[in-house]
Amino acid sequence: MKNPRRVLYNIALWAVAIFFFSPIAWIALASFKTKNGILATPPQLIFAPTLDNYADFFTRPNVGQYFLNSILLSVAAVLLAILVSFLASYCFSRFQPKATGFLMFLLLSIRMVPAAASVVPVFLMYTAFGWKDNWLGIMLFYAMFSIPFSVWILKGFIDGVSQRYDETALVNGGSRLHVLFKVVLPQVRPGLIAAFIFNFIFVWNEFLINFIIGGKTTTTIPTALIIGVSNNQGMDWTFVATLTTIYILPPIIAIYFFQKYLLVGMTFGTVRGEV
């Protein structure tokens, strides 16, 4: 029954997967070690796990606030971006205004600009307008940041919905809004999910913008990590390991449950298919 070559092949695949995961596993293990356990030489692979770090974690000031910032900023920005992008991609897909090609090109190029180059002009503007350290200012920037990707993904999905549906609904007396939200929207649900998941992860992971134009009220975890890491002479490894472990969980869980959107999500919707 069991083909030994098949078994060997499966073991090799799992070994590759575990190899790539091992740095993440190492930090996750560290979060269950004592301080001396993390700093031990030689490094310990087998140790008596402790939950003290997690108990200690919840007594830290500000951490709850930073997490809340991360969650609220990501969710608000992405939802707003998806709504706006849905309208625009419907327009691009159905009416094909003359500027469609050019606008799609501009949108894509926003995402191709190095972050350091795009933060300079935003820094100039936010400083002049006094929008720095403003929750709304940062949220709207993140929404803008999420629009290009959402438009690209959603346009692809709306192109895939036959115009017949629109026509039928219109002929039957439905309004354009009805067509948009009751006819087209339900059919592009996979696109909406992919746009939500991947934009959420991008904003969740974003650091530079938050670091430069954010402040106390908008600090997210990556910024907190960088500030915490560079301020302390002796790094507080138990805390950093715990914080990092908790913070990277949502993206990893997301790709477990939404694996079929991974390809669309990582290529702006330009490559379709599943792996």
Binding site: F21, L39, G174
Partner: protein
């Protein structure tokens, strides 16, 4: 048209007073509708892109340091001349080229090999979990990745340093603190993070090969090399090219990872162009000069985008 039936969708209208009224009010302006749908995106685009970019473009012709307190002084193209003749810019630019070439070529080769390995993984027990573990590195924030590797590269308690010390029999190296190894050590982190992306792209490219052609190749008993050369590459080349281009662009953009691992140090061994720009803007606050460099990087990004779209359009033309 009236008789076209869609099976699952409600194409008839249930009465919804204000909603429907608003909808029909919009319909009466049918010709304005496309514009109205675009207005929100255009607003975002103008406020957060056009205005700041023009602002930056303007500032790139001025000499202005935020912390000096002196007003902007118009100097024409002097900033650009300064950048072109600045050795440190050329140094970080050439480092960036080496970085892009190094990361992309290693990731592409490794990713394609591993992608081929994973090709037959459809029946792998626990496949979903295995792929989640495999693709996890590219989904986490580079800041977190830098934390992992600070822990593992640490000369006193880092596991990688420990393993290297055991293998070579010498003292544990300080991989990211030593000028000789810092660049390679950071590059290794990028390879770890992004090889999974090329695996994903390779799997997509392999998935796009029609089954019939593969079966024909099987019947003709083509060798591995010929199978790749004549069956897989012609079908998968566009997806591979898109993947490689995306990786090249992202590699050129690398910032967060290096910023949080080494801040461009030790010395300037890992200072890529994005880090140079960061240092000039937010450490020296030399914003006129920084704007000029940002304009140059912006033009580079537009060039990259054009190439990407060119390939994408060729792919779509071929599929049509």
């Amino acid at each position: 048209m009236q008789h076209v039936k869609s099976p699952e969708l409600a194409t008839t209208v249930t009465p919804q007073p204000w909603w429907t009224r608003l909808g029909h009010a919009l319909d009466r302006r049918e010709r304005a509708l496309p514009t109205m749908l675009l207005v929100p995106v255009l607003l975002f685009f103008i406020i957060w892109n056009v205005i700041p970019t023009l602002w930056m473009l303007g500032l790139s012709f001025y000499k202005w340091t935020l912390t000096s307190g002196r007003p902007e002084q118009f100097i024409g193209f002097e900033n650009f001349q300064d950048i072109i003749t600045d050795n440190s810019v050329w140094l970080s630019f050439s480092k960036t080229l080496i970085w892009v070439f190094g990361t992309v070529s290693i990731e592409v080769i490794l990713g394609m090999l591993l992608g081929l390995l994973f090709w037959g993984s459809a029946k792998l027990p626990g496949r979903r979990l295995a792929l989640t573990l495999l693709f996890a590195p590219m989904m986490i924030t580079p800041v977190a990745a830098s934390i992992f590797f600070r822990l593992m590269y640490d000369p006193t308690f880092g596991v990688i340093s420990y393993i290297i010390a055991q293998l070579t029999g010498q003292a544990a190296p300080n991989l990211i603190g030593d000028r000789a190894t810092a660049f390679a050590a950071v590059l290794a982190v990028d390879v770890w993070m992004w090889t999974p992306f090329m695996i994903l792209i390779t799997l997509a490219a392999l998935g796009s090969v029609p089954k019939a052609e593969l079966e024909a190749a099987e019947i003709d008993k083509l060798s591995w090399f010929k199978k790749i050369r004549y069956v897989i590459l012609p079908n998968g080349k566009f997806i591979l090219m898109l993947g490689i281009l995306l990786r090249t662009i992202d590699s050129f953009k690398t910032m967060d990872l290096i910023f949080s691992l080494t801040r461009g140090g030790p010395g300037n061994t890992t200072e890529l162009i994005a880090i140079t720009l960061y240092r000039k803007s937010f450490e020296a606050f030399n914003l006129g000069w920084a704007s000029s460099l940002a304009v140059i990087l912006l033009l580079t990004a537009i060039a990259f985008t054009s190439i990407y779209l060119f390939v994408l359009n060729r792919k779509q033309a071929e599929e049509a």
